[in-house]
Structure formats: C-alpha cells, structure tokens
C-alpha cells in the first residue's frame, strides 16, 4: 500500500525549475530580498516563539537570484534572529533576536544598507543593529505599525509582577501576548491577556493586525487567525473557527491583496512549524463584509499533509510564505524537501533543509533562490516599498470605568444560536486562569481552565446588557435561563448559548457586540456617548480588585465565585444525598467496573456521594478525589482515550460546561430562580424532582424536607456543571491562596 502512495506523490510533486546561470530574477522587479539564516535546531510547536535555530543572522540578497550578492547585516556570532519585518519605505528592518551573550529575545532595528537607525536619529553614522527592548522577558515577532510604532508579542505580564504571566494549555510555556511601542522602544503598551499564546502577527492593508491565537476552552485546542486594532482593542475572529478550517493551526499569514491572505496551515506540533500553503479569503476586500462565516480557504499545495504525518520527497513542507509585490500568483516561501517531521528526521540524525524558493501557484512550480547546506534560510521579504496603512482610531471607548465595559445590543441576535427572545434572563460572566496561580496539577477531570464567576448581569427588555469587568482579564459569557442554567439552545454554535472562546479588553475599552455572535457583516452603529458605551448604570464586576483577591468562601447565589468541590458542593451532597448514596450497592447505588483492556487493570466503583476519598487507579493515571466527584464526573473522563471495557451501567452525570444536559441536574430538577425563586416551577416539567419521587429508600423518605435542596444549593450544582465540573478553584487551591 505504501509503494503506490509514494509513486503517486512523486508523480504529482511540484517541478523545481531547472538550473540557469543564476541570473534570472523570477521575482520580476523586486531588486532585493531580506531573509534570516540560522543553524537548524528544534522548533517546538507552532506557538513556541523562541525555538527554531541558533547562530542566526539577518541577510540581504541583491538581486534575489542564485548569483546575487549576500550581505550579512548583523554579523552576530552566537546570537540568533527569528523574525523580521520591513518598514513601509523599505529602508529599515525590525527583527527579533538574541544578541550574542544574551539569553532572551528582544527587538532590534537596522537599516537595509546595514547602518544603525538609532544612532542616525542621534546624528551619528554607525554600522550594525540597535536594540530597542530589554529586560527579563522575551519580545518577538515585531511588525511595523503606522505612525512610527511597532507591534510585537511579549511574555511580560500586563498585570504586573504579583502573579506570573499566563501559562499555556499544557502549563508548559509562558504565553506571548500583544504589545506595541514607539520605534525607539519607549511607550510600551501591553495588550489584554488571552489565556494562551498569540504569535506571528502581520499588518493588514486596512491597518488592522492579524495574528495566530491559540484557542482553548473546554475541548477546543487550535491555532486560529485573530484580528485586533492597532491599539490592541477590538479583538475578533478572522479564520479557522466555525468549521471553516482545514488544519489545526494557521501560522505566519501575510496579506497579498485586501482581505486575501496566504498562510501556512499545519499541525500544532512535530512539523517544524511548517505545513501547506493556503490562500485565505477573509470574506472580501470590504472589511465591513468580512466575517468568519464568509471566509474561505484554498489549498495551494494539496499534497502537503495538513496533519503531522511525514511529508513525501519532492513534496516537503513550507515554513512561511510572503507575497511577491505585483504578482498575486507568486510567493516567496521557505521550503524543505522530504519528510519534514521530527521523529523521522531525528531517527536519521537529520534536520529539514529549509531554503528560500519562489512558489508559482499558477504553474505549481518552485524556483530556488537561496539554500545553503547546514543552515536554514527563512522568512524572505521582498525589499519593496508599500503603502503605509491608516492609523486607526479605537473602535469603541468606554467612559466612566478603568475596567473593560462589555455589552451587547441584543443578545438574541445570533448566527450561531437559536435563542427564543425572552428566554435569557441574565448573562453570566466568568474569568479564566491557568496553573500560573499555583495549581500543581489539573483543575479536575475535565479539560476546562480554572474559572471564577465574576457575576451575572440582567438582560434588559430590549435584549441588551452591559457590565464592567477587570481590564486585561479573559472572560467567557453564558446566557442564563430563569432556572440559573446556561441556556439550552440549538444551532451551529452548539447546544448551549455560550461561545467557546475567551474574550478580553483593555482598560477603558468597550467590547460591545451587536448580539451573541451576531452576523458579523451587520454594522454596529454607535454614536459617541451612546448609553451602551457608558459605564454608568452597569454592574461593576470586581474591576478594581486584584486577581488573587477575586475569590469568595461564601457559596450563596449572590456571593459564589469559584466552585471548590470539597467546600461548596460536597457539603450539600453530604448533608442531603449521601445518606442514601453511600456506596452501598443497591438500587440507588449502581456499580460498574472499568477494565483497561491494554493493561487489564480494573477499577470498580459503586455510586457514592460521600466525601470518602477514592483513588482511580486503573491504568497509570491515578487521581484521588471525593467519592462524589468520581461518581458525578468520572471515572469515564479519566479514561477518555483508553481502550476500555465497561461492565455495569455508569452514567455521565455531569456534562462539563452544560448544566441543562447534565443528568444530575435534570434529576434534581432545579426550581425557577428568576425573577424570583419558585419551588413549584421546575426546569424540566416532565421529569420528577429527585429525591421526592423515590419514596422511602432504606428507611429514608425522599420527600423529607431534610433532603430537599435549597435554591442556592441547586444553583451551586448548576454553576459547577456550567463552569466545567472542575474540582479545584482559587478557594481550595493547594498551598493556600498565596
């Protein structure tokens, strides 16, 4: 089977243009290119912003032909260069690199002719780069902005030094976030934090910034294209979501015409950050018509795997791609032949040999430009002037708050969710965090981040709402029904009215939406001074409270923030449930056994809602939680990737992120909470109210008032489920608050 595949690949592989005397300039009128030359090294995954090479230097090639003149601009020995951009007038380069003797990546500038632009500004003529950022953080991926500013990403924390910067999904790396500064490195402005990395930015011709953002909330784990304004506000989706994607991650996008991008699509890891070349249409050239729903992608290199499987000989993978000015079918690329995949090459004690090529999309031909043995030539840019995009003014500025004002004009306006007008009573706002707060392990058995409810905001009669949240803080929003649950819905967005994405804003920014993922091409017309842009009258959800102090040990409806299982949920279960659900096999306590068919180890469990510690020890992952947590959240969650055999009839009692579809919530059948608590109105009218329907079990009457949950207790269970069903929160973090 393997042989025919190889044959097919070879037959269909791109031709590489034959040798000439090295004089032909396939780049037309492009007089020179700039590029990076590095000694190969592991790149890490696509979000690894400091890996990928050593001994890097910045070069120009004039003319951009095989026989052109190479000029080493940096002449560093033992340093590195990992990203660059060209000024609008094509006279200067900005790059991120590690100067010789330094340990961290910072931002540097150098003129294309090799002279020092910083010294020139002081009236001196010198040669070599100047450094414009410094300090204990890394600053990488610089691009020029209009009006003499630079955009870059940094792992410095916008919150200051009290808590470390966010860690990524695997708690493996400090995340890179958006920032800007003046050309000389002063006036650094740090953008609001995402929960994970932002890398590989590019400037669109309309002045907006597009970058790759690692998204994860619940099961989502992908690198999508995200757009923001020059002042780091107004973050919105660009491409890769809403089922439009063809790969897991999209990296190093460049615009070749308004609304038209070329981008690398690839797996998150094991491909040296290289993949296939895609053309991405953001939805047309008119930015008012661009939307994720209207976006599309065209695969220019269909033979290149979109996943992490090894690429074939003559197919290879592309590390980056950049437009050739004046030719929308030709692209400057960095390409390596053969199996560009870590494991295969490592077994051969080898690295991919990246070099610079011109890729002609029309003829499917690659033209070699420069490729030295034992080094990577990468990230080529045509040294050609381009128009300076306009300086953008902030989309919406809030008045009257130092926090971020979030709001929507009509929450029922949505292309993703079918929500009946009037069915949503409030908007729940929850912040997200990761292990940087001192959590040594998982938050629990599900894939949700750490969360704390900041509050629930009433929805007005016209469907609008607004609230002030802490600036620079990722939050998620859920529409809440009259029972206090995240609203059940239908549509492309899933079965719960909660978009699976974290949003955030700067101090004084108004994040105002038309609706809940409304049609993105529908204009939002808000006059300056519009009431929805004013903080006045909006609930203040901890805007001036430091992150480590946003916690509550009171678990009533109005006070609860995190839902620490042992402190908030277990007391309810112990008092009202465990008298029957005590782990004694019987009608109320079904038993089951999970057998790991790989290891033939077994885990047996009888339903038990007590606080008794139980260890899941089938297979190697071993957790110790209360029996109740295992009963309601697992242990299936612990075996989600296992070849397992189950005897008995275990249920998934909690659906992480959706109380309305959680069996335990349906059985308990919560009462109406809004506009007032009414124990006679239940969320699931056709279902009984547990435990009253049971009658007498082992001498306990289910209808006894002692076993009935209070409205706040119902809500605690609901919030736990809606928040992802995690065990740990700030309130029960091991090692204390701080």
């Amino acid at each position: 089977m393997r042989k025919p595949l190889i044959t097919l690949a070879l037959a269909a592989a791109l031709p590489i243009a034959g040798c000439d005397n090295g004089q032909t300039n396939v780049l037309g009128g492009v007089p020179a290119i700039a590029y990076i030359s590095r000694t190969p090294a592991d790149t890490g995954n696509v979000f690894d912003y400091t890996g990928g090479g050593t001994d890097g230097n910045l070069f120009t090639l004039t003319p951009p032909t095989a026989s052109g003149v190479k000029k080493n601009l940096t002449n560093w020995a033992g340093g590195d260069v990992n990203a660059l951009d060209l000024s609008f007038d094509a006279r200067e380069l900005v790059f991120s690199g590690k100067a010789p003797g330094e340990e961290r990546y910072h931002i540097f500038r150098i003129n294309v002719d090799g002279t020092n632009p910083c010294d020139a500004a002081q009236g001196k003529v010198t040669v070599g780069p100047c450094q414009v950022t410094m300090g204990p953080n890394d600053e990488v991926y610089p691009i020029y902005l209009p009006a003499g500013r630079i955009f870059y990403v940094t792992n410095r924390n916008v919150e200051g030094g009290a808590v470390p910067q966010f860690m990524d999904e695997y708690e493996r790396a400090t995340t890179a976030q958006a920032a800007t500064m003046k050309l000389d490195g002063s006036d650094q402005i740090l953008g609001p934090r995402n929960v994970s990395h932002r890398v590989a930015p590019t400037l669109l011709s309309d002045g907006r910034i597009l970058m790759t953002e690692w998204r994860h909330l619940g099961d989502v784990n992908e690198g999508d294209l995200t757009i923001m304004q020059q002042d780091l506000t107004g973050v919105r989706e660009g491409f890769g979501r809403e089922s439009k994607g063809v790969a897991n991650s999209y990296l190093r996008a460049r615009e070749y015409a308004p609304g038209q991008l070329v981008v690398i699509g690839t797996s998150r890891d094991r491909t040296y950050q290289a993949g296939k070349i895609l053309r991405v249409n953001l939805g047309g050239s008119d930015i008012t018509q661009q939307s994720e729903a209207r976006s599309s992608a065209e695969d220019l290199t269909p033979l290149v795997p979109a996943d992490r499987t090894p690429s074939f000989k003559d197919v290879g993978r592309y590390y980056d791609v950049a437009p050739v000015p004046g030719n929308s079918d030709r692209f400057l690329t960095t390409w390596a032949d053969g199996a560009v995949e870590t494991e295969v090459l490592s077994m051969a004690k080898s690295h991919p040999d990246f070099g610079i090529y011109v890729f002609d999309a029309k003829s499917n031909t690659r033209y070699p430009i420069v490729n030295q043995p034992d080094s990577w030539e990468q990230s080529p840019l045509a040294i050609v002037p381009r128009n300076e995009p306009p300086t953008l003014t902030p989309l919406f500025a809030a008045t009257g708050t130092t926090g971020t004002l979030i709001g929507a004009i009509n929450v029922y306006d949505s292309t993703m969710f079918n929500v009946t007008p009037g069915s949503a009573i409030k908007v729940r706002v929850s912040e997200g965090f990761s292990s940087e707060e001192g959590f040594p392990g998982d938050f629990g058995l599900t894939e949700f981040d750490g969360q704390a409810r900041l509050g629930e905001v009433p929805i007005n009669a016209d469907g609008s709402f607004k609230a002030q949240i802490p600036a620079n803080t990722p939050v998620r929003l859920q529409l809440i029904d009259k029972f206090g649950m995240a609203l059940a819905t239908s549509g492309a967005g899933g079965d719960t009215a909660a978009e699976p994405v974290w949003i955030q804003g700067r101090s004084g920014e108004a994040r105002v939406c038309g609706g809940c993922h409304e049609d993105r091409v529908k204009p939002i017309a808000l006059a300056p001074g519009s009431s929805i842009l004013q903080a006045s009258g909006s609930p203040d959800l901890f805007t001036n409270i430091a992150r480590q102090e946003r916690r509550s040990d009171v678990f009533t409806y109005d006070k609860i923030m995190g839902v620490p299982w042992d402190k908030a949920v277990q007391p309810i279960l112990s008092a009202k449930c465990a008298v029957c659900h005590d782990g004694t096999a019987g009608a109320a306590n079904p038993s089951y056994t999970i057998t790991d068919v790989t290891d033939m180890t077994m885990f047996s469990f009888t339903f038990d809602l007590s606080a008794k510690p139980v260890t899941i020890d089938a297979g190697d992952r071993m957790y110790t939680y209360t029996a109740s947590y295992i009963a309601l959240l697992g242990p299936q969650m612990a075996f989600r990737e296992k070849q397992i055999m189950i005897t008995g009839d275990p249920k998934m009692y909690v659906t992480p992120g959706a109380a309305h579809s959680s069996v335990v919530v349906q059985m308990l059948n919560p009462p109406q909470r809004f506009p007032n608590v009414d124990m006679n109105v239940r969320a699931f009218p056709s279902k009984p109210v547990h435990p009253a329907e049971v009658g007498v079990y082992n001498g306990h009457d289910g209808a006894d008032a002692a076993y009935q949950l209070t409205a706040d207790e119902y809500y605690t269970l609901i919030l736990s489920s809606d928040s992802g069903g995690q065990y740990y929160a700030r309130e029960n973090k091991m090692g204390g608050p701080y």
Binding site: Q131, A247, S267, D620, Y738
Partner: protein
C-alpha cells in the same frame, strides 16, 4: 458506553483535538527517535492518556539529555499515579551525592510544581553539589512560585556559586506576591549584587530590580546604584541592563546617567538608554 466514546471521537472536528491521540507506541517511538520536539509533543498529546505501559517508557526521560524533555517528563509523570513515587525519588536524589541526578531532580520537580517539595529544594540549595544542579534547583523554586520561598532565594543570593546567585536573583521574579503586595522581590536584598564579581549575577540582579520597578514594588536606593552601574560597569551587557532598569523605574533622577549612556561605546547600550530616557517622568 465504549461504543459511544468511540463515536464521539470520530464525529469531533479534527482540528479541535490537537491534544489528543497519544499512545504508548507513539511515546516509545518518539523516545527512540531522540527528538526532543517529538517526545515533548507526544507527552503533551498523552495528557489525558491513562496507560500503565507508558510509565516505563517515560520514567527514563527524567534523565534525558534535553532539559525540555526532562521538564515534559516531570509534567507528565506529575499527573499520574507514580507522582508521589517520583517526587520521593527526586527528593532522595537531592539528598544523594550525584550532581547530575540532582540537576535532573530539580528539573523534574520544577515541572511538577508541588510546593511541598520546597523544604527539600531549600536544603539542597543551601549546599549544592555543583553549580549546574544548584541552578536547576534555584530555577525550580522560582517555577513553583510559592511566596514562602522568598527567604530560600534570598539566602541563595549569597551562594559561593555565581550561577546559583544569578538564578536565585532571576527566580525571585517568578514568585507570586504575598496577598496585598505587588511583587515578592524587593530592592534591599538585590542591591549588594550590583557589585558582584560575576557579570551574569549583576545582570540578573538588575533585571529583577527593573521588574520590581515596573511592577510598582520597593526600589528604594536602586536609582543611584543603577545610575553608577549604567555608566561605570565594565560589561556592556550589564550597562545595558542597568539603563533599561532605570527606564522602568521612571525616576527623573536617572536622567544624567542615561544621557551619559547615550554616548556609550556599545551601540546596544546607547539605544536602550535612549528608550529609557523617553520613559522617565
């Protein structure tokens, strides 16, 4: 039930599950290849994979030549049933006589981030077997990040090993601030290091001073000391760091020193001094 789980996986969009698909075979193949990227990727993919048979493949990775792999192995093992066993083994290594084993133990405990290991790390840091292992352990203390480790790291600032002093100064930046404070580190403990014989120590101490300054912490006495360093230190890297730190403190008293640094013989010092000047009040 099993059938249902398999169907879920098939129906799920491929792109949304980058962190899935791990297996014992994949981990073993990656380990055999020796590729740090492949090993780390497979361990991350196996984040939720429960497999007893993987343990034997991953345990040796705590002694892999790549620090990235040791870190990933520690992270992965820390989420599994062998966690307490691995922690005990690593703590025993810290009490042993093998500096390489102690270095690797520091890396693994850093990845596990268990604050209960701080006493063992603190003891080791007071008398490390060699510089490399001392650096690893000082780094682990910082990554664990518990504010109670301030005293441990401040003690290590007086280590006879320059690498340990430098790493201790760097790790102070990573500690979470005690409740009500803006930052864990403060200037008084760091200022003596500005006269350290090792340029790396001086530079890390300055970085931490700058970090304290940009975080609004206690930098009393730092501006005058850093001004002298910015214009007089023998190392251009140290002068550059000092110029940057002065800019972060924004104190106008640093203006003369930064203006002088604009004429430094090193171009990178000059440009950082210019940026810092623009940041002053």
């Amino acid at each position: 039930m099993r059938t249902a789980i398999v169907m879920m996986a098939l129906l799920a969009p491929l792109s949304a599950f980058a962190g899935r698909g791990g297996s014992t075979v994949a981990i073993k193949a990656a380990a055999q290849s020796g590729s740090a990227d492949a090993i780390v990727a497979e361990l991350e993919r196996a984040e939720f994979l429960a497999c007893l048979s993987c343990i034997d493949a991953v345990l040796p990775l705590v002694d892999h030549e790549s620090a990235r792999v040791r870190d990933a192995a520690g992270w992965w093992l820390g989420r599994r049933g062998v966690r307490s066993q691995v922690i005990s083994t690593m703590q025993a290594r810290l009490a042993g006589g093998d500096p390489v084993a102690a270095r690797n133990a520091g890396d693994v405990l850093a990845a596990m981030r268990d604050y209960t290991t701080l006493p063992a790390l603190t003891t080791y840091l007071s008398q490390p077997l060699d510089e490399e292992s001392g650096v690893s352990v000082a780094r682990a203390v910082g990554i664990i990040g518990h504010p109670s480790a301030v005293a441990t790291l401040q003690g290590a600032l007086a280590s006879p090993l320059s690498g340990v002093r430098a790493q201790a100064a760097a790790s102070l930046r990573q500690l979470r601030a005690p409740a009500g404070k803006k930052v864990a580190a403060s200037a008084p403990a760091l200022l003596p290091l500005l006269g350290d014989s090792d340029a790396g120590v001086r530079r890390e101490a300055i970085m931490t001073l700058g970090f304290v300054g940009q975080s609004g912490g206690d930098v009393s006495g730092a501006v005058a000391a850093l001004s002298a360093v910015a214009t007089g230190d023998a190392s251009p890297g140290v002068r550059k760091a000092a110029a940057w730190a002065l800019g972060e403190m924004k104190d106008g008293a640093a203006r003369p020193a930064l203006q002088a640094a604009q004429s430094d013989s090193d171009p990178l010092v000059r440009s950082i001094a210019t940026a810092a000047l623009a940041n002053l009040r």
